[in-house]
Amino acid sequence: MHGVQETSRNDELPTEGNAKVTGAAVYTWDTALPRMLHGKLLRSPLPHARIRSIDTTEALAILGVVCIVTGDDVAPLAEQFYGVGLRDQPVIALDRVRFVGDPVAAIVAVDEATAFRAAQAIKVDYEPLPPLMTVEDALADDAPALFDGPTPGIPIPVGKGWSSVADPVRNVLCEYNFGYGDATAILDASDQVFTDTFAVTRINHFHLEPHVNIAHWNDGRLEMWSCNQDPFVIRGDIARIFGLPLHRVRIHTPLVGGGFGGKSYCKMEPLVALMARKAGAPVRLALSMDESILTLVKHPGRLTLTTGVDREGRLTARRADIVLDGGAYSDASALVAVKTGFRVGGGYHWQAIASRARIVRTTTVPSGSFRGFGGTQASFASERQIDLIARRLGEDPLTFRMRNLLDVDQPFAPNERGMDSDLSAGLQDVAERIGYSSKRQQGRGIGFAVGLKDAGGTGNHAQALVRVTQDGEVMVSAAVVDVGQGAASALCRIATDVLGLPLANATYAPIDTDHSPPDNGTHVSCGTLVTGRAIEQAAAEVRKQIETFAAERLDCDVSEIVLEGWTVRRGNVVHPLTPMVRKYYGGIGWEFIGRGAFKEPYDPDTPMGARNISWMPCWSVAEVSVDDETGRVTLHRLIVSADPGRALSREACHGQIEGAAMQALGQAMFEELRYRGAEPENATPLTYRVPKVRDLPAHFESVVAEHGMGFGPGGVKGIGEAGMLGIAAAIANAIQDATGASLTTMPFTPEKVLDALDQLRHVGDVPVVERS
């Protein structure tokens, strides 16, 4: 097997970059078909209502309106619902709406303006039902049920130590319990036990390219151009909903203008397919950014952690009660619940864990995947509590962490893969970078966090093709969607490194489900790990084909052949490959085609039903000061470190870490999608505040810490979500270090900081740790 070679420190320019700086890059947004019509959606103004009737007469009479799709068009389909595991979201509202923004009617017209006018002319007769805006509303004794029957589909299958159940009680979508050891007994026997509750808030992905899809039916076959980052997932969903064989659905995935989880799993793709089928012409549905904000959010929630410590300051056991607000429909909620419950122990050694994670349904925007998938929620609560405990014990939070972190190769949970990063070394490094042992500047506080999540997915699989022409040009085909993370370059590099050819020779093939080898979707930082393994294998197979071909031509044993660039050497004689191939295959030439596949095998003894492919830590340290009159927090320094195993491109790794950390900084400091009563309060790009260049901390440093233990080709592992993990906790820990004030609810607005300072004056709960 030919391994991947040492990365050059002078990264070559990304192969796909040029078009993005000249305006030539084509996204789904820019795609157009001849005779293409345009769609607009009419959305519910009410959070919860029964639809008595929809009158489209007036709208259909408007010049240029082609057709209108409503729940009546969905009823005859083979299936009406989508979602991950649990499927409860209708293609379009059937008889009921469940959040402000729930699509009720889809208009197809000659242009968007006409469709928009037609939407205003549709009359919907609603019978209002009680809104359930919060988890408390939904769990109240007198709350109405948001859904009538049991949820279709199955809850996420899990492995050893888990129980999983759908619809345990009214308005709870699912409940997962995970654990090992006897948490109750160990907590009872612990020297000290602490219980704290933390709250995380609802944020939106705010990808700049809003959701956009173009659908076109031809001879009973659907062709679609989609911004979705999971082409094979939506192919499957559409085939199931329309009762079609998979190969009657073809998905193209052009460049994606940002996703962060907001474009993963099925969204409005089946609806656009239905609109195009009814219209009998290609239809483009492009949401406005307001609508994208009302399409998916990150789960808000409440996490209560009970954690024991022994006399030596070692963590013993943790019990977690996690309640996530799933919003109106399941989307990927079941998966997020599983992952939050699994990850809540963080990177520490435990004798026992007992976590319960529930998804509560409310009449708000559906919650789903968002860069980190429950990992940010879990690491905020976990890393805040670790700090609180250290301070209560009068211990230095860094020392306390160092004592309890998992060692290299130590499993995260029984039967899990061992830790493939040195958690202590990573933490020590950021502590040194910020000068933790030197004297603190007056009024400044420093806070740490060690975020951790599993990466690469559970039992994930991918296939890949690597094709090499007679001139040594390489085409890499896989289904990893380039959402800006540099997947195309990274995957091409894996192939060219195995082949010993320059990266510039390689092209990443456009994604098209008719031709691209399938995978699970672009998630959980699995591109370089899972697909990377498949590509490495495919490239090695091609290499073998080339060597075998050369050996046959030179009439020698293959072991005598050495591939060197696009030549073969036998002994001291070098033979160029191009003429050799042309001489044998003729003028058109030939392609050597290698196939590769990877699947993490099923293993019922592991917690997830398959071992996790790698571990993704994030070591962060923040330095803040707080104005105690205004409550304003100034973030002076933020240092964030993550481990890609081995960097395929250091620049791309820095980009992933910093981009994720900035998103986490937004959520920590100010970002939040709020409701005022039943109304979304700031669901517009004008009022929804995301980080801008002014929010860059005065010192913002990312560290690419190559620990070299990754499971992917040449020791690589994914890094895309790492930078989200623990940033909010590090900032809150720094606020506490500076002032003693304890923040347990994001975002850390001046109001919350002042409240926490007030509380400190009245209660004096947590002392500030003195350090010499």
Binding site: L13, G23, A24, V26, L208, G257, P685, V693, L696, F700
Partner: protein
């Protein structure tokens, strides 16, 4: 709807088009002239993705009526490279990995071109002021600021 004929200089060439009074500049550039580097994201003039230069000044093309720019000179990202040679800001974006998904990139680059015209050697504060209206959700802004810093000497020479 009333239509009108406009004369615009787009990337140095005089162009004419017929538009409705309600048509915005972004639609003229994208749909009439095929200049799809002008990306419409928020469509409310707050994210900066659709930034183009009108007589050298950055404007949000999604929130500018086309008739307002009649007779004026418009520069889009497609007009920056000269004879196949990238503009210094484009090169700096490539060299500093100042983009990921690329959807904000055209607007970001044009804002920086305008910035460097007004302030050939901007300090940190000036850079942050000028880029305050451009949202990038991918990079965390660090590499973009770095791309501006690194282009400064080269750009300053160009203007010498």
């Amino acid at each position: 709807m009333k239509s009108m004929t406009l004369s615009l200089t787009i990337n140095g060439a005089l162009r004419h088009c017929e538009v409705a009074s309600s048509t915005v500049l972004a639609d003229v550039l994208r749909d009439t002239f095929g200049l799809q580097g002008c990306k419409v994201a928020c469509d409310q003039g707050v994210c900066g993705a659709c930034t183009v230069l009108v007589d050298g000044e950055p404007v949000a093309a999604c929130a500018t009526f086309a008739f307002v720019v009649d007779g004026r000179s418009i520069m889009t990202v497609e007009g920056l490279a000269q004879n196949g040679v990238l503009h210094a800001v484009q090169t700096s974006f490539l060299e500093n990995s100042a983009f990921q998904c690329g959807f904000c990139t055209s607007g970001m680059i044009l804002s920086i071109v305008a910035l460097l015209r007004a302030h050939p050697e901007p300090d940190e504060e000036t850079i942050r002021d000028w880029l305050g209206g451009n949202v990038c959700r991918c990079t965390g802004y660090g590499p973009i600021v770095e791309a501006v810093r690194r282009v400064i000497p080269a750009h300053a020479l160009e203007h010498a």
